[in-house]
């Protein structure tokens, strides 16, 4: 009996689904919006924006990490490197030109990355208006799951970080200090060190999933490369974040003073 009932019920559903959208009461009235076939509306385009801007960040982060390691060469080298960044390209273009261009590119990239993330987050929210009572994770990694909140933490951290070590506004060494002084004095406070280490951990997870996701989004992943790509993404994130963590930890343990 139960079987018959289920069958006859299914019969009526089959009729509903084969009808044109919007005709049958109670059924899916069709898409709530017109399909956007334009260039910028597509979710895949937004993903590509995230991937390309993400690559810009990763390239910048590599350069930034290498620059940070100059702290081990002492105050003079570190401060000179900071000056070099401002003098970059100087005989050709006026002082600060190259650095300003880099800053503008990064700002635009951050804006685009956040725009795409926010837009995709809204789409994802629309895509599951009612949640599951029970939902288990089968395959997702911690890194992939925390991309959105991780991103929010990172933007807050970046703002703090610029106020702290670039401008010196929230640094105990003050605004008129030299970069090396800000570095050493800032990380004397263990709370600041812990905050940096946590943010770096969040950055590591963000990069671990981001590198893999960007490759996939730009259409350069396949079954054969999938494993290697994921291993590379993890290794890259570990090396990069390890390089960054060396500095605050070295200050804490007195290797840099």
């Amino acid at each position: 009996m139960g079987l018959t009932c289920a069958w006859s019920y299914r019969g009526s559903v089959a009729t509903v689904t084969t009808q044109q959208a919007g005709q049958s009461a109670g059924a899916n009235p069709g898409p709530k919006r017109d399909p956007k076939t334009g260039r910028f509306g597509s979710s895949v385009f937004k993903k590509a924006v995230m991937a390309v801007t993400g690559i810009i960040f990763v390239l910048y982060l590599i350069a930034h990490m290498v620059g940070n390691l100059k702290a081990f060469a002492g105050a003079e080298t570190f401060n000179a490197y900071s000056e070099f960044l401002r003098d970059l390209g100087e005989p050709v273009v006026p002082r600060l030109t190259v650095l300003t261009i880099i800053r503008i590119v990064l700002l635009v990239a951050v804006a685009a990355h956040i725009w795409a993330a926010f837009s995709l987050w809204r789409q994802a929210k629309r895509a599951r208006p009612i949640g599951y009572v029970t939902k288990k994770r089968v395959q997702q990694s911690y890194a992939s799951r925390t991309m959105r909140w991780g991103g929010v933490i990172l933007i807050l951290f970046i703002i703090w970080h610029i106020l702290d070590l670039t401008l010196g506004a929230v640094n105990p060494a003050g605004r008129d200090s030299l970069p090396y002084g800000r570095l050493v004095e800032g990380f004397q406070n263990p709370i600041v060190t812990v905050w940096y280490l946590l943010a770096l951990l969040a950055l590591g997870f963000h990069i671990r999933h981001g590198v893999w996701s960007a490759t996939q989004t730009l259409g350069h992943s396949n079954k054969r490369r999938e494993r290697a790509l994921n291993v590379f993404a993890t290794a890259f994130a570990v090396v990069l974040i390890g390089g960054y963590m060396l500095i605050p930890l070295s200050v804490t343990f007195g290797i840099i003073d």
């Binding site: 009932c5 299914r10 979710s43 895949v44 009572v133 259409g219």
Partner: protein, 251 residues
């Protein structure tokens, strides 16, 4: 086997649904999951209650009609369709949560039945080829490289059950769309519409209130046909190629 079932009951799309508890005794471990639900429905009918509505058709794992969220996993603990899942995958005394697919694009019709016509509209947006009518051409008239034929066939095994959407934390239908785009885009017969197909199908999937893909991989892990994440990479590649080629459909 004795089981406790917690089933999503929702009489109609407009009414708010809730989980209801049912107790089943004498469930054979050799029953399929759907046969177990048949037993529940017989019991409900005898008690004068409304039987639980759920979708099913071939019960052979090839039609894509059935699909339930079982204990929080699309199609349950085995990577197969709900109809091919057997009660031996559970233990005596288990509590099993049964919910419908959840997505903005899959509104609940009744109980565990969702309307998946959004998939039909994604297909009609571009999941076809232009083929001359008349006598069928010789099978070897257009040669297809073996690798492409294999990859296209793997993608073509998609039965459109919707488990990818159900499992995706973003509620994205990208694995389904990608399987169709890959299947047709790899074959010579699919080339004329290759650019416009991917643009239109992605646009339709976005318009149907499905989410965007963040390459988490839950979809592929629950796909009864094991459609690979590679198809999504191909879709992305084709879409970006189409945008570069300025192949934006006018209508």
């Amino acid at each position: 086997m004795k089981l406790t079932l917690r089933v999503w009951r929702q009489p109609s799309p407009q009414v708010k649904g809730k989980m209801a508890n049912y107790h089943l005794t004498d469930v054979s471990p050799d029953m399929s999951f759907l046969e177990m639900l048949d037993v529940l429905n017989e019991q409900l009918i005898l008690e004068g209650e409304d039987p639980v509505a759920f979708d099913h058709d071939c019960r052979e794992g090839i039609c894509g009609s059935c699909g339930l969220m079982i204990n929080g996993i699309a199609h349950g603990p085995e990577q197969t369709t709900t109809c091919q899942l057997h009660m031996r995958s559970f233990s005596d005394g288990d509590t099993i949560d049964i919910e419908p697919w959840r997505s903005g694009g899959f509104p609940v019709v009744k109980d565990l039945v969702v309307d998946r016509s959004a998939f039909d509209r994604i297909i009609s947006a571009g999941g076809f080829i232009s083929a001359p009518t008349g006598t069928a051409p010789d099978a070897h008239a257009s040669p297809v490289p073996k690798v492409d034929a294999d990859a296209a066939f793997d993608a073509a095994t998609c039965i459109g059950c919707g488990a990818c959407v159900a499992a995706c934390p973003n509620g994205s239908a990208m694995l389904f769309t990608a399987a169709k785009v890959t299947h047709l885009g790899l074959l010579p017969q699919g080339q004329p519409e290759r650019d416009s197909r991917v643009v239109r199908m992605v646009a339709q999937q976005d318009a149907e209130d499905f989410g965007g893909c963040t390459n988490i991989g839950e979809c592929s892990a629950v796909c009864p046909k094991g459609i690979s994440m590679e198809t999504i990479s191909r879709l992305n590649h084709d879409l970006l190629g189409a945008l570069r080629a300025n192949a934006v459909p006018t209508s």
